[in-house]
Symmetry: C2
Subunit: 306 residues, 2 copies
């Protein structure tokens, strides 16, 4: 397809906590153009979401009137418009029915894709944005199975042929940052290139930690103190312990050799790949821009595409 000739049919916005990406999407769900800013919802001054929206995607709307869908933390309590959660299990058509319409200061309609909630043993779980990525991955041919979306709050998502069945959140990324920045474990940590050896040692510890994570973490202090690993290895050793512990817990229902699909940035996805393989699982990678494809599928299901 020649991108120059494709017809713009939708604007999709992925507005998260720490960044905002907007996609100009063509009639076949292909991405024609992308713009982005670091103005995630926690960085929007005076909560002027309306201003950020018009500044970023206004130029696209001047040329032609397009429908707009938006997903991510923008629909949370600290976002632009708080929307209720859809309940799992749910698929793209359920999300299409649950779209929340909103009119901006210019009269533009934005359709917010709401997040999803689940509950285990009385404890709720939440996500906003990942559900749209999964819908996109599915539309791009990725199979049913287990998906992991590494990050500040990793999501482990069970996907069937037709819908998102269930999921669980692991606070791995945020806890890594808090431990590194605000405990004695950060003492020896220096910025440097990824140390795969340290990471693998950490993964082995994390996979073996069982219930004793609060104990195993202390080894990030003692191993360099006793010269058992160099100080330069401690950041990735800590990262490995946390990711190993996450994988150990999240894969309890999986058989050895089963496949896990990784969705995410390359550097982080690589860590999960290393750790999953060392825990005897197979890995697949999701393609890029699945979120834009999710926007497209949900908008199509809602009859928004002319």
């Amino acid at each position: 397809m020649n991108l120059a000739e494709s017809k713009p049919s939708l604007i999709g916005i992925d507005w998260g906590t720490s960044s905002l990406r907007a996609f100009l999407i063509g009639a076949d769900g292909d991405v024609l153009d992308t713009v982005s800013t670091p103005q995630g919802i926690t960085y929007v001054k005076d909560r002027d979401f309306d201003g950020v929206f018009h500044e970023l995607v206004g130029p696209w709307l001047v040329q032609v009137d397009l429908p707009v869908v938006a997903s991510g933390m923008i629909t949370s309590r600290n976002g632009w418009v708080e929307t209720p959660y859809a309940q799992v299990p749910a698929g793209g058509s359920d999300l299409a029915k649950a779209l929340v319409k909103f009119h901006t200061s210019s009269g533009q309609t934005v359709h917010f894709i709401t997040g999803m909630t689940t509950e285990h043993d009385g404890a709720p779980d939440v996500m906003r944005g990942e559900e749209t990525q999964i819908i996109g991955a599915h539309a791009m041919g990725m199979e049913a199975g287990i998906y992991v979306m590494p990050g500040t709050h990793s999501k482990w998502i069970t996907v069937s042929e037709t819908q998102i069945e269930d999921y669980a959140t692991y606070m791995t990324g945020e806890i890594f940052a808090a431990l590194r920045g605000h405990t004695i474990l950060g003492t020896f940590i220096e910025d440097g290139p990824f140390c795969e050896d340290g990471f693998r040692k950490g993964v082995a510890s994390g996979l073996a930690a069982g219930q004793g994570l609060l104990h195993t973490l202390f080894h990030v202090r003692t191993m360099p103190l006793f010269g058992k690993i160099p100080e330069s290895m401690t950041a990735d050793f800590l990262s490995g312990i946390l990711i190993g512990s996450e994988i150990s817990a999240a894969t309890q229902a999986l058989a050895p050799g089963e496949a896990v699909t990784i969705v995410g940035r390359d550097d982080l996805a690589y860590r999960y790949e290393v750790a999953l393989i060392s825990a005897d699982f197979e890995c697949k990678r999701a393609p890029e821009n699945i979120v834009a494809r999710g926007h497209f599928e949900i908008a199509k299901s809602a009859g928004m595409l002319s």
Copy 2:
């Protein structure tokens, strides 16, 4: 015994990370007087340990020449004099043999009680100061068994009739502070009185968390978000999850109904008591000033008492 008539025979110093307590100890191991300052080793300006020492215990030494022993983080790399660790298993007489002599600027001799190390599956563990408390508790008639010393770095210590057999560190207190202060889990936390109901709910979650602590912690966010617990309960809910997880891991070798001896501050000891009882263990409390008694026992074993 009339304290006014007891003869001072030893000065014992418990010099930790965040505070310093010094004891004037009588001929029978009784505490005649106590002084303290918040100048733990991280709060000593310009590393002037010598100055802090003389300011605090100098008045006692002016009146009569007394032997001095010191225990705690003061013998760590960031302390006054770094001493090697004794290897477990070890008892009071081993610690007496391992005393490290040091002369202060005034010529006063200080005998440093060194810490103890152990190793499990190639990963070292360390403590400095707790070993002296255990020696003291034993001398004061506390039985062999499992001791827990709650705190920034909780220690679970296995004590036989004659010595410290082994131990493990859990970073519960420090991780609580990091999660509370530097993650989204602190969002709803307000200062307030202890909420035992929230704490008990957390303990139940922590005991059941198994390997999924990184997941269970996310409920500190979602439970108040969904109105399942009031926001005022979140601090103690988080505390309960961490302490429950610690107890679950640390008691794996114990049979239901076995006793655990708690050493520590009243408020924290109470939390551990609540959590241990809800996990079907018995609790005992160690008496106060066991560290001074540990100083006395080790000094006596070293032949320092005239």
